[in-house]
Protein backbone atom coordinates (compact mmCIF):
# COMPACT_ATOMS: atom_id res chain seq x y z
CA UNK A 1 0.00 0.00 0.00
CA UNK A 2 1.35 3.41 -0.96
CA UNK A 3 0.83 6.70 0.82
CA UNK A 4 0.02 8.79 -2.27
CA UNK A 5 0.27 8.33 -5.99
CA UNK A 6 3.39 9.47 -7.86
CA UNK A 7 4.96 8.85 -11.24
CA UNK A 8 6.56 5.48 -11.83
CA UNK A 9 8.58 3.89 -14.63
CA UNK A 10 6.75 0.62 -14.09
CA UNK A 11 4.32 -0.60 -16.70
CA UNK A 12 0.70 0.16 -15.99
CA UNK A 13 -1.37 -2.73 -14.69
CA UNK A 14 -5.05 -2.84 -13.87
CA UNK A 15 -4.45 -4.45 -10.50
CA UNK A 16 -5.85 -2.43 -7.63
CA UNK A 17 -3.39 -0.39 -5.61
CA UNK A 18 -4.83 1.35 -2.56
CA UNK A 19 -3.48 4.73 -1.50
CA UNK A 20 -3.44 5.27 2.24
CA UNK A 21 -3.63 9.07 2.09
CA UNK A 22 -6.59 9.05 -0.26
CA UNK A 23 -8.47 6.55 1.88
CA UNK A 24 -7.70 8.56 5.02
CA UNK A 25 -9.09 11.76 3.51
CA UNK A 26 -12.23 10.11 2.15
CA UNK A 27 -12.96 8.33 5.41
CA UNK A 28 -12.30 11.51 7.35
CA UNK A 29 -14.94 13.30 5.28
CA UNK A 30 -17.36 10.42 5.74
CA UNK A 31 -16.54 10.42 9.44
CA UNK A 32 -17.41 14.10 9.75
CA UNK A 33 -20.72 13.46 7.99
CA UNK A 34 -21.56 10.54 10.24
CA UNK A 35 -20.50 12.40 13.37
CA UNK A 36 -22.62 15.38 12.43
CA UNK A 37 -25.66 13.23 11.75
CA UNK A 38 -25.31 11.16 14.92
CA UNK A 39 -24.47 14.16 17.09
CA UNK A 40 -27.74 16.00 16.50
CA UNK A 41 -28.34 19.34 18.31
CA UNK A 42 -27.73 21.12 15.02
CA UNK A 43 -29.86 23.98 16.18
CA UNK A 44 -27.28 25.11 18.72
CA UNK A 45 -24.93 26.63 16.20
CA UNK A 46 -27.77 27.98 14.08
CA UNK A 47 -29.34 29.69 17.07
CA UNK A 48 -25.96 31.17 17.86
CA UNK A 49 -25.60 32.18 14.24
CA UNK A 50 -28.99 33.86 14.20
CA UNK A 51 -28.17 35.69 17.38
CA UNK A 52 -24.84 36.76 15.96
CA UNK A 53 -26.33 37.85 12.69
CA UNK A 54 -29.15 39.66 14.45
CA UNK A 55 -26.62 41.70 16.37
CA UNK A 56 -24.23 42.11 13.54
CA UNK A 57 -26.77 43.15 10.95
CA UNK A 58 -27.47 46.31 12.85
CA UNK A 59 -23.85 47.31 12.75
CA UNK A 60 -22.58 46.21 9.38
CA UNK A 61 -24.23 45.99 6.04
CA UNK A 62 -21.77 43.26 5.08
CA UNK A 63 -23.23 40.80 7.50
CA UNK A 64 -26.56 40.27 5.90
CA UNK A 65 -27.50 36.66 6.21
CA UNK A 66 -27.02 34.66 3.08
CA UNK A 67 -29.85 32.46 1.90
CA UNK A 68 -29.30 29.02 3.33
CA UNK A 69 -29.90 26.95 0.26
CA UNK A 70 -30.63 23.26 0.07
CA UNK A 71 -32.90 20.95 1.94
CA UNK A 72 -31.63 18.26 4.21
CA UNK A 73 -32.32 15.66 1.54
CA UNK A 74 -30.54 17.75 -1.06
CA UNK A 75 -27.54 18.10 1.20
CA UNK A 76 -27.45 14.38 1.84
CA UNK A 77 -27.53 13.61 -1.86
CA UNK A 78 -24.86 16.22 -2.55
CA UNK A 79 -22.73 14.76 0.22
CA UNK A 80 -23.00 11.22 -1.10
CA UNK A 81 -22.12 12.21 -4.65
CA UNK A 82 -19.43 14.58 -3.42
CA UNK A 83 -17.76 11.81 -1.43
CA UNK A 84 -18.02 9.37 -4.34
CA UNK A 85 -16.42 11.98 -6.59
CA UNK A 86 -13.73 12.70 -4.03
CA UNK A 87 -12.87 9.04 -3.75
CA UNK A 88 -12.78 8.62 -7.51
CA UNK A 89 -10.46 11.59 -7.88
CA UNK A 90 -8.04 10.70 -5.10
CA UNK A 91 -7.74 6.94 -5.36
CA UNK A 92 -6.79 4.26 -7.84
CA UNK A 93 -7.12 4.05 -10.83
CA UNK A 94 -7.71 7.68 -11.77
CA UNK A 95 -5.16 9.11 -9.37
CA UNK A 96 -2.48 6.60 -10.33
CA UNK A 97 -3.08 7.15 -14.03
CA UNK A 98 -3.03 10.89 -13.55
CA UNK A 99 0.13 10.89 -11.49
CA UNK A 100 2.30 9.00 -13.90
CA UNK A 101 0.73 7.83 -17.11
CA UNK A 102 -1.96 10.00 -18.71
CA UNK A 103 -2.38 13.76 -18.79
CA UNK A 104 -6.00 13.10 -19.69
CA UNK A 105 -6.57 11.30 -16.39
CA UNK A 106 -4.94 14.16 -14.51
CA UNK A 107 -7.19 16.72 -16.19
CA UNK A 108 -10.27 14.59 -15.55
CA UNK A 109 -9.28 14.57 -11.88
CA UNK A 110 -8.91 18.33 -11.80
CA UNK A 111 -12.13 19.04 -13.63
CA UNK A 112 -14.14 16.64 -11.49
CA UNK A 113 -12.64 18.07 -8.32
CA UNK A 114 -13.00 21.72 -9.30
CA UNK A 115 -16.33 21.52 -11.11
CA UNK A 116 -18.17 18.74 -9.29
CA UNK A 117 -16.72 17.71 -5.95
CA UNK A 118 -15.98 21.19 -4.60
CA UNK A 119 -19.45 22.66 -5.22
CA UNK A 120 -21.18 19.48 -4.06
CA UNK A 121 -19.28 19.33 -0.78
CA UNK A 122 -19.71 23.05 -0.16
CA UNK A 123 -23.43 22.68 -0.82
CA UNK A 124 -23.57 19.62 1.43
CA UNK A 125 -21.92 21.42 4.32
CA UNK A 126 -24.66 22.54 6.74
CA UNK A 127 -24.37 26.18 7.81
CA UNK A 128 -24.29 25.09 11.43
CA UNK A 129 -21.27 22.90 10.75
CA UNK A 130 -19.54 25.78 8.98
CA UNK A 131 -20.26 28.00 11.98
CA UNK A 132 -18.84 25.38 14.30
CA UNK A 133 -15.73 24.96 12.17
CA UNK A 134 -15.02 28.61 11.41
CA UNK A 135 -16.73 30.46 14.21
CA UNK A 136 -17.17 34.23 14.17
CA UNK A 137 -13.70 35.49 14.75
CA UNK A 138 -10.64 35.98 12.59
CA UNK A 139 -11.22 32.83 10.60
CA UNK A 140 -14.53 34.23 9.47
CA UNK A 141 -12.79 37.41 8.38
CA UNK A 142 -10.41 35.33 6.26
CA UNK A 143 -13.34 33.36 4.90
CA UNK A 144 -15.15 36.54 3.96
CA UNK A 145 -12.12 37.76 2.10
CA UNK A 146 -11.74 34.48 0.29
CA UNK A 147 -15.40 34.60 -0.67
CA UNK A 148 -15.01 37.85 -2.56
CA UNK A 149 -14.73 37.36 -6.30
CA UNK A 150 -11.91 39.86 -6.52
CA UNK A 151 -9.86 37.61 -4.26
CA UNK A 152 -11.20 34.16 -5.09
CA UNK A 153 -10.82 34.34 -8.86
CA UNK A 154 -7.20 35.52 -9.02
CA UNK A 155 -6.14 33.19 -6.21
CA UNK A 156 -7.73 30.18 -7.90
CA UNK A 157 -6.49 31.18 -11.35
CA UNK A 158 -2.90 31.75 -10.28
CA UNK A 159 -2.88 28.54 -8.24
CA UNK A 160 -4.18 26.48 -11.15
CA UNK A 161 -1.76 28.02 -13.64
CA UNK A 162 1.26 27.65 -11.41
CA UNK A 163 0.48 24.14 -10.28
CA UNK A 164 -0.06 23.00 -13.87
CA UNK A 165 3.00 24.64 -15.37
CA UNK A 166 5.34 22.06 -16.93
CA UNK A 167 8.30 23.35 -14.93
CA UNK A 168 6.54 22.32 -11.74
CA UNK A 169 4.42 19.34 -12.70
CA UNK A 170 7.25 17.01 -13.71
CA UNK A 171 9.33 17.42 -10.54
CA UNK A 172 6.24 17.48 -8.31
CA UNK A 173 5.01 14.17 -9.67
CA UNK A 174 8.27 12.47 -8.78
CA UNK A 175 7.49 11.84 -5.14
CA UNK A 176 4.29 11.05 -3.23
CA UNK A 177 4.79 14.04 -0.94
CA UNK A 178 5.21 16.65 -3.66
CA UNK A 179 2.44 15.00 -5.65
CA UNK A 180 0.21 15.32 -2.58
CA UNK A 181 1.14 19.00 -2.32
CA UNK A 182 0.23 19.55 -5.96
CA UNK A 183 -3.10 17.77 -5.61
CA UNK A 184 -3.79 19.78 -2.46
CA UNK A 185 -3.18 23.07 -4.23
CA UNK A 186 -5.56 22.45 -7.10
CA UNK A 187 -8.14 21.04 -4.71
CA UNK A 188 -8.00 24.20 -2.61
CA UNK A 189 -8.15 26.27 -5.78
CA UNK A 190 -11.37 24.48 -6.69
CA UNK A 191 -12.96 25.20 -3.34
CA UNK A 192 -11.79 28.81 -3.48
CA UNK A 193 -13.40 29.28 -6.86
CA UNK A 194 -16.79 28.29 -5.50
CA UNK A 195 -16.68 30.24 -2.26
CA UNK A 196 -18.31 33.41 -3.61
CA UNK A 197 -21.44 31.49 -4.61
CA UNK A 198 -21.38 28.45 -2.37
CA UNK A 199 -19.84 29.41 0.95
CA UNK A 200 -21.80 27.53 3.61
CA UNK A 201 -21.13 29.95 6.45
CA UNK A 202 -24.18 32.13 7.14
CA UNK A 203 -21.91 34.99 8.12
CA UNK A 204 -20.60 35.25 4.58
CA UNK A 205 -22.67 37.04 2.05
CA UNK A 206 -22.88 34.96 -1.11
CA UNK A 207 -23.58 36.01 -4.63
CA UNK A 208 -27.08 34.98 -5.64
CA UNK A 209 -29.38 35.19 -8.61
CA UNK A 210 -28.15 37.05 -11.66
CA UNK A 211 -24.90 38.08 -9.97
CA UNK A 212 -24.05 34.48 -9.17
CA UNK A 213 -24.80 33.39 -12.71
CA UNK A 214 -22.67 36.20 -14.09
CA UNK A 215 -19.86 35.17 -11.77
CA UNK A 216 -20.09 31.54 -12.85
CA UNK A 217 -20.06 32.44 -16.52
CA UNK A 218 -17.03 34.60 -15.99
CA UNK A 219 -15.11 32.20 -13.76
CA UNK A 220 -15.60 29.42 -16.30
CA UNK A 221 -12.32 30.60 -17.81
CA UNK A 222 -10.36 29.72 -14.68
CA UNK A 223 -10.49 25.91 -14.73
CA UNK A 224 -9.55 25.88 -18.40
CA UNK A 225 -6.48 28.07 -17.94
CA UNK A 226 -4.13 25.07 -17.65
CA UNK A 227 -5.54 23.93 -20.96
CA UNK A 228 -3.92 26.86 -22.72
CA UNK A 229 -0.51 25.29 -22.17
CA UNK A 230 -1.63 22.12 -23.86
CA UNK A 231 -3.77 23.61 -26.58
CA UNK A 232 -1.01 25.78 -27.97
CA UNK A 233 1.85 23.35 -27.56
CA UNK A 234 3.31 21.58 -30.56
CA UNK A 235 4.87 18.91 -28.39
CA UNK A 236 3.93 17.12 -25.21
CA UNK A 237 4.65 19.63 -22.50
CA UNK A 238 4.94 17.22 -19.58
CA UNK A 239 7.87 14.81 -19.84
CA UNK A 240 6.25 12.56 -17.25
CA UNK A 241 3.37 11.72 -19.55
CA UNK A 242 5.39 11.88 -22.74
CA UNK A 243 7.80 9.17 -21.73
CA UNK A 244 5.50 7.11 -19.52
CA UNK A 245 4.76 3.51 -20.44
CA UNK A 246 1.67 3.39 -22.60
CA UNK A 247 -1.64 2.46 -21.03
CA UNK A 248 -3.63 2.04 -24.21
CA UNK A 249 -2.07 0.90 -27.45
CA UNK A 250 -1.97 3.71 -29.99
CA UNK A 251 -2.86 6.37 -27.45
CA UNK A 252 0.41 8.24 -27.67
CA UNK A 253 1.60 11.29 -25.78
CA UNK A 254 0.38 13.82 -28.34
CA UNK A 255 -3.09 12.28 -28.52
CA UNK A 256 -3.14 12.15 -24.75
CA UNK A 257 -2.31 15.83 -24.48
CA UNK A 258 -4.90 16.82 -27.05
CA UNK A 259 -7.51 14.76 -25.24
CA UNK A 260 -6.53 16.33 -21.94
CA UNK A 261 -6.95 19.82 -23.39
CA UNK A 262 -10.36 18.84 -24.74
CA UNK A 263 -11.38 17.45 -21.36
CA UNK A 264 -10.46 20.71 -19.71
CA UNK A 265 -12.09 22.98 -22.19
CA UNK A 266 -15.14 21.02 -23.31
CA UNK A 267 -15.75 18.85 -20.27
CA UNK A 268 -15.24 21.73 -17.89
CA UNK A 269 -17.59 23.96 -19.83
CA UNK A 270 -20.33 21.33 -20.01
CA UNK A 271 -20.19 20.70 -16.27
CA UNK A 272 -20.23 24.40 -15.53
CA UNK A 273 -23.10 25.19 -17.85
CA UNK A 274 -25.18 22.44 -16.30
CA UNK A 275 -24.77 24.22 -12.99
CA UNK A 276 -25.44 27.62 -14.51
CA UNK A 277 -28.63 26.28 -16.10
CA UNK A 278 -29.71 24.80 -12.80
CA UNK A 279 -29.11 28.05 -10.99
CA UNK A 280 -30.84 30.04 -13.69
CA UNK A 281 -33.94 27.89 -13.50
CA UNK A 282 -33.99 28.01 -9.70
CA UNK A 283 -33.60 31.77 -9.76
CA UNK A 284 -36.35 32.08 -12.37
CA UNK A 285 -38.71 29.98 -10.28
CA UNK A 286 -38.01 32.10 -7.21
CA UNK A 287 -38.64 35.28 -9.14
CA UNK A 288 -41.92 33.93 -10.51
CA UNK A 289 -42.99 32.80 -7.06
CA UNK A 290 -42.14 36.20 -5.61
CA UNK A 291 -44.27 37.93 -8.25
CA UNK A 292 -47.25 35.60 -7.97
CA UNK A 293 -50.51 37.11 -6.53
CA UNK A 294 -50.71 34.33 -3.97
CA UNK A 295 -47.24 35.14 -2.69
CA UNK A 296 -48.04 38.83 -2.54
CA UNK A 297 -51.27 38.11 -0.72
CA UNK A 298 -49.57 35.91 1.83
CA UNK A 299 -46.82 38.38 2.44
CA UNK A 300 -49.17 41.32 2.53
CA UNK A 301 -47.58 43.17 -0.35
CA UNK A 302 -50.36 42.74 -2.88
CA UNK A 303 -52.80 45.49 -3.77
CA UNK A 304 -55.73 45.77 -1.44
Amino acid sequence: MNWWCASSPKNWTWSWTPYLGALAIVFAVIGIGVWWTVRGRHGDELLAAQAELGTASTTSSDNVQAPIAGTSTGRTIAFVFGVIGLWAVLDWPLAALGAGYLATAQMVRQIVMVMVVAPLLLFACPPALAVRAVGWGRRLTVLRWMSRPIVAVPVAAISLIVVNSPALVDPLLDSPYSSFLMDGIWTLAGFTLWMPVQCPHPGVRRLTGATAITYLIGQSIVPVLPGFFMTWADFPIYSTYELAPRVFEGFDAVTDQQTAAAVLQVGGMVLLWVQIAFRFLSWGHREVDADSPRHKHLTGTGAA
Binding site: S7, P9, N11, R148, P149, I150, V151, A152, V153, P154, A157, I158, I161, D170, P196, R205, L207, T208, G209, A210, T211, T214, Y215, G218, Q219, I221, V222, V224, L225, F228, F229, T231, W232, A233, D234, F235, P236, I237, S239, T240, E242, L243, A244, P245, R246, E249, G250, D252, A253, V254, W283
Partner: protein, 239 residues
Amino acid sequence: MTPRPVRRNLGPDIDRRRFLSGSVGLGAAAALGGGAALLSACSLDRASSPGRSDPTSGFGGTLLEPPFTKPDVTFTDLDGNPFPFLEKTEGQLTVLFFGYTNCPDICPVFLQTMARAREGIATGPGSRPQILFVGVDVARDTPEQMRTYLNRIDPTFIGLTGSEEVIGEAISHLKMAPVVIEEPAADGTYSVGHPAQATVFTRDDVSHRIYPTGVDDRAGTRMEVWVRDLPRLDQGVWK
Protein backbone atom coordinates in the same frame (compact mmCIF):
# COMPACT_ATOMS: atom_id res chain seq x y z
CA MET B 1 -31.00 72.67 0.99
CA THR B 2 -28.72 70.34 -0.84
CA PRO B 3 -30.68 67.71 -2.68
CA ARG B 4 -29.77 64.15 -1.66
CA PRO B 5 -28.36 62.03 -4.43
CA VAL B 6 -30.82 59.53 -5.73
CA ARG B 7 -29.54 55.94 -5.65
CA ARG B 8 -30.90 53.65 -8.25
CA ASN B 9 -32.36 50.49 -6.89
CA LEU B 10 -30.69 47.63 -8.71
CA GLY B 11 -32.99 45.05 -7.21
CA PRO B 12 -32.53 42.55 -4.46
CA ASP B 13 -30.13 40.30 -6.35
CA ILE B 14 -27.94 42.77 -8.11
CA ASP B 15 -25.85 44.61 -5.64
CA ARG B 16 -23.67 47.20 -7.28
CA ARG B 17 -20.64 46.72 -5.08
CA ARG B 18 -20.70 42.97 -5.44
CA PHE B 19 -21.25 43.25 -9.12
CA LEU B 20 -18.31 45.59 -9.54
CA SER B 21 -15.96 43.47 -7.46
CA GLY B 22 -17.07 40.42 -9.39
CA SER B 23 -16.41 42.16 -12.66
CA VAL B 24 -12.94 43.20 -11.57
CA GLY B 25 -12.20 39.63 -10.49
CA LEU B 26 -13.38 38.25 -13.79
CA GLY B 27 -11.35 40.81 -15.66
CA ALA B 28 -8.29 39.73 -13.72
CA ALA B 29 -8.99 36.11 -14.58
CA ALA B 30 -9.40 36.92 -18.25
CA ALA B 31 -6.15 38.88 -18.22
CA LEU B 32 -4.37 36.01 -16.52
CA GLY B 33 -5.77 33.55 -19.01
CA GLY B 34 -4.76 35.65 -21.95
CA GLY B 35 -1.31 36.21 -20.52
CA ALA B 36 -0.80 32.53 -19.83
CA ALA B 37 -1.92 31.60 -23.31
CA LEU B 38 0.38 34.16 -24.84
CA LEU B 39 3.35 33.08 -22.77
CA SER B 40 2.85 29.41 -23.46
CA ALA B 41 2.29 30.01 -27.16
CA CYS B 42 5.40 32.15 -27.49
CA SER B 43 7.70 29.83 -25.61
CA LEU B 44 6.46 26.73 -27.36
CA ASP B 45 6.58 28.31 -30.76
CA ARG B 46 10.29 28.94 -30.34
CA ALA B 47 10.84 25.34 -29.40
CA SER B 48 8.82 24.06 -32.31
CA SER B 49 10.80 25.69 -35.07
CA PRO B 50 13.75 23.38 -35.39
CA GLY B 51 14.80 24.48 -38.81
CA ARG B 52 14.89 28.05 -37.63
CA SER B 53 16.24 27.34 -34.18
CA ASP B 54 19.53 28.60 -32.85
CA PRO B 55 22.19 26.25 -34.27
CA THR B 56 24.42 26.83 -31.27
CA SER B 57 21.86 25.71 -28.71
CA GLY B 58 22.41 22.43 -26.93
CA PHE B 59 21.99 19.00 -28.39
CA GLY B 60 20.35 16.03 -26.76
CA GLY B 61 22.00 12.65 -26.44
CA THR B 62 25.70 11.97 -26.08
CA LEU B 63 28.45 13.18 -28.36
CA LEU B 64 30.69 10.37 -29.64
CA GLU B 65 34.34 11.28 -30.03
CA PRO B 66 35.58 9.57 -32.05
CA PRO B 67 32.37 8.81 -33.92
CA PHE B 68 31.08 5.27 -34.33
CA THR B 69 31.41 3.67 -37.72
CA LYS B 70 28.62 1.63 -39.23
CA PRO B 71 28.55 -2.11 -38.65
CA ASP B 72 29.21 -4.11 -41.77
CA VAL B 73 26.31 -6.52 -41.38
CA THR B 74 23.43 -7.70 -43.53
CA PHE B 75 20.00 -7.77 -41.90
CA THR B 76 16.87 -9.16 -43.52
CA ASP B 77 13.98 -6.89 -44.45
CA LEU B 78 10.34 -7.80 -43.90
CA ASP B 79 10.02 -9.20 -47.43
CA GLY B 80 12.83 -11.62 -46.72
CA ASN B 81 15.38 -9.75 -48.83
CA PRO B 82 18.92 -9.02 -47.65
CA PHE B 83 19.45 -5.57 -46.19
CA PRO B 84 23.17 -4.76 -46.38
CA PHE B 85 23.39 -2.03 -43.80
CA LEU B 86 26.34 -0.10 -45.25
CA GLU B 87 24.90 0.01 -48.72
CA LYS B 88 21.28 0.72 -47.83
CA THR B 89 22.05 3.56 -45.47
CA GLU B 90 24.89 5.20 -47.37
CA GLY B 91 24.74 8.98 -47.30
CA GLN B 92 21.41 9.09 -45.49
CA LEU B 93 20.32 10.30 -42.10
CA THR B 94 19.55 7.02 -40.34
CA VAL B 95 18.24 6.22 -36.88
CA LEU B 96 18.99 2.66 -35.77
CA PHE B 97 17.18 1.09 -32.83
CA PHE B 98 17.21 -2.43 -31.45
CA GLY B 99 14.00 -3.54 -29.80
CA TYR B 100 11.28 -6.15 -29.88
CA THR B 101 7.63 -6.13 -30.76
CA ASN B 102 6.40 -7.48 -27.42
CA CYS B 103 8.21 -4.74 -25.55
CA PRO B 104 5.72 -3.15 -23.15
CA ASP B 105 7.46 0.15 -22.51
CA ILE B 106 10.59 1.54 -24.16
CA CYS B 107 9.99 0.42 -27.74
CA PRO B 108 6.45 1.76 -28.24
CA VAL B 109 7.33 5.01 -26.49
CA PHE B 110 10.44 5.49 -28.63
CA LEU B 111 8.76 4.60 -31.92
CA GLN B 112 5.72 6.79 -31.25
CA THR B 113 8.02 9.63 -30.26
CA MET B 114 9.94 9.26 -33.52
CA ALA B 115 6.75 9.12 -35.56
CA ARG B 116 5.48 12.31 -33.97
CA ALA B 117 8.87 13.96 -34.31
CA ARG B 118 8.84 13.33 -38.05
CA GLU B 119 5.40 14.91 -38.22
CA GLY B 120 6.73 17.81 -36.19
CA ILE B 121 9.63 18.42 -38.55
CA ALA B 122 7.26 18.08 -41.49
CA THR B 123 9.51 19.33 -44.30
CA GLY B 124 13.09 20.30 -44.94
CA PRO B 125 16.29 18.88 -43.47
CA GLY B 126 15.77 15.99 -41.09
CA SER B 127 12.20 15.41 -42.13
CA ARG B 128 12.85 12.09 -43.84
CA PRO B 129 15.27 10.06 -41.74
CA GLN B 130 15.41 6.33 -42.24
CA ILE B 131 14.09 4.83 -39.01
CA LEU B 132 15.35 1.27 -38.73
CA PHE B 133 13.83 -1.00 -36.10
CA VAL B 134 15.73 -4.25 -35.64
CA GLY B 135 13.71 -6.95 -33.88
CA VAL B 136 16.07 -8.70 -31.46
CA ASP B 137 13.58 -11.30 -30.22
CA VAL B 138 14.18 -13.53 -33.21
CA ALA B 139 11.67 -16.16 -32.08
CA ARG B 140 8.71 -13.78 -31.92
CA ASP B 141 9.70 -10.88 -34.14
CA THR B 142 8.59 -12.52 -37.35
CA PRO B 143 8.26 -10.38 -40.48
CA GLU B 144 4.45 -10.52 -40.24
CA GLN B 145 4.47 -9.56 -36.59
CA MET B 146 6.87 -6.70 -37.21
CA ARG B 147 4.94 -5.42 -40.21
CA THR B 148 1.71 -5.34 -38.22
CA TYR B 149 3.47 -3.72 -35.28
CA LEU B 150 5.19 -0.99 -37.27
CA ASN B 151 2.17 -0.26 -39.47
CA ARG B 152 0.24 0.66 -36.35
CA ILE B 153 2.83 3.28 -35.50
CA ASP B 154 4.30 4.52 -38.78
CA PRO B 155 4.30 2.51 -42.01
CA THR B 156 7.41 4.32 -43.20
CA PHE B 157 9.53 2.78 -40.47
CA ILE B 158 11.72 -0.01 -41.77
CA GLY B 159 11.57 -3.28 -39.88
CA LEU B 160 14.59 -5.56 -39.97
CA THR B 161 15.34 -9.01 -38.65
CA GLY B 162 18.36 -11.22 -38.67
CA SER B 163 20.05 -14.08 -36.97
CA GLU B 164 21.20 -13.75 -33.40
CA GLU B 165 24.78 -13.64 -34.65
CA VAL B 166 24.14 -10.78 -37.07
CA ILE B 167 22.23 -8.77 -34.49
CA GLY B 168 24.83 -9.51 -31.85
CA GLU B 169 27.62 -8.41 -34.17
CA ALA B 170 25.90 -5.11 -34.93
CA ILE B 171 25.22 -4.43 -31.25
CA SER B 172 28.77 -5.32 -30.30
CA HIS B 173 30.17 -3.07 -33.02
CA LEU B 174 28.18 -0.15 -31.59
CA LYS B 175 29.43 -0.92 -28.06
CA MET B 176 25.97 -1.54 -26.69
CA ALA B 177 24.85 -3.97 -24.01
CA PRO B 178 24.05 -7.41 -25.44
CA VAL B 179 20.55 -8.78 -25.82
CA VAL B 180 19.33 -10.84 -22.86
CA ILE B 181 16.38 -13.20 -23.21
CA GLU B 182 14.79 -13.61 -19.78
CA GLU B 183 13.39 -16.88 -18.44
CA PRO B 184 9.78 -17.43 -19.52
CA ALA B 185 7.04 -16.89 -16.95
CA ALA B 186 4.40 -19.50 -16.17
CA ASP B 187 2.22 -18.25 -19.01
CA GLY B 188 5.07 -18.56 -21.49
CA THR B 189 5.71 -14.85 -21.86
CA TYR B 190 9.17 -13.47 -21.36
CA SER B 191 10.99 -10.19 -21.37
CA VAL B 192 13.94 -9.25 -23.48
CA GLY B 193 16.73 -7.00 -22.35
CA HIS B 194 17.85 -4.86 -25.27
CA PRO B 195 19.98 -1.77 -25.86
CA ALA B 196 18.18 1.38 -24.80
CA GLN B 197 19.96 3.77 -27.15
CA ALA B 198 19.09 5.02 -30.59
CA THR B 199 22.09 5.54 -32.82
CA VAL B 200 21.90 8.32 -35.39
CA PHE B 201 24.10 8.00 -38.49
CA THR B 202 24.60 11.21 -40.40
CA ARG B 203 25.29 11.72 -44.11
CA ASP B 204 29.01 11.20 -43.55
CA ASP B 205 28.17 7.58 -42.65
CA VAL B 206 29.25 7.70 -39.05
CA SER B 207 27.42 8.28 -35.81
CA HIS B 208 28.32 11.41 -33.90
CA ARG B 209 25.53 11.08 -31.34
CA ILE B 210 23.58 8.40 -29.56
CA TYR B 211 20.31 9.15 -27.79
CA PRO B 212 18.98 7.43 -24.70
CA THR B 213 15.51 5.97 -24.74
CA GLY B 214 13.43 5.05 -21.73
CA VAL B 215 10.23 5.50 -19.81
CA ASP B 216 11.71 7.69 -17.12
CA ASP B 217 11.40 11.40 -17.77
CA ARG B 218 15.05 11.82 -16.82
CA ALA B 219 16.27 9.01 -19.07
CA GLY B 220 14.39 9.17 -22.33
CA THR B 221 14.80 11.58 -25.21
CA ARG B 222 11.81 13.82 -25.73
CA MET B 223 10.11 14.55 -29.01
CA GLU B 224 11.11 18.18 -28.77
CA VAL B 225 14.77 17.15 -28.72
CA TRP B 226 14.41 14.99 -31.79
CA VAL B 227 12.65 17.76 -33.66
CA ARG B 228 15.43 20.15 -32.74
CA ASP B 229 18.35 17.81 -33.40
CA LEU B 230 17.47 15.79 -36.51
CA PRO B 231 17.46 18.78 -38.90
CA ARG B 232 20.83 19.89 -37.60
CA LEU B 233 22.31 16.41 -37.78
CA ASP B 234 21.00 16.13 -41.32
CA GLN B 235 22.84 19.35 -42.16
CA GLY B 236 26.10 18.06 -40.74
CA VAL B 237 25.94 19.89 -37.42
CA TRP B 238 26.35 17.66 -34.38
CA LYS B 239 27.94 19.85 -31.72
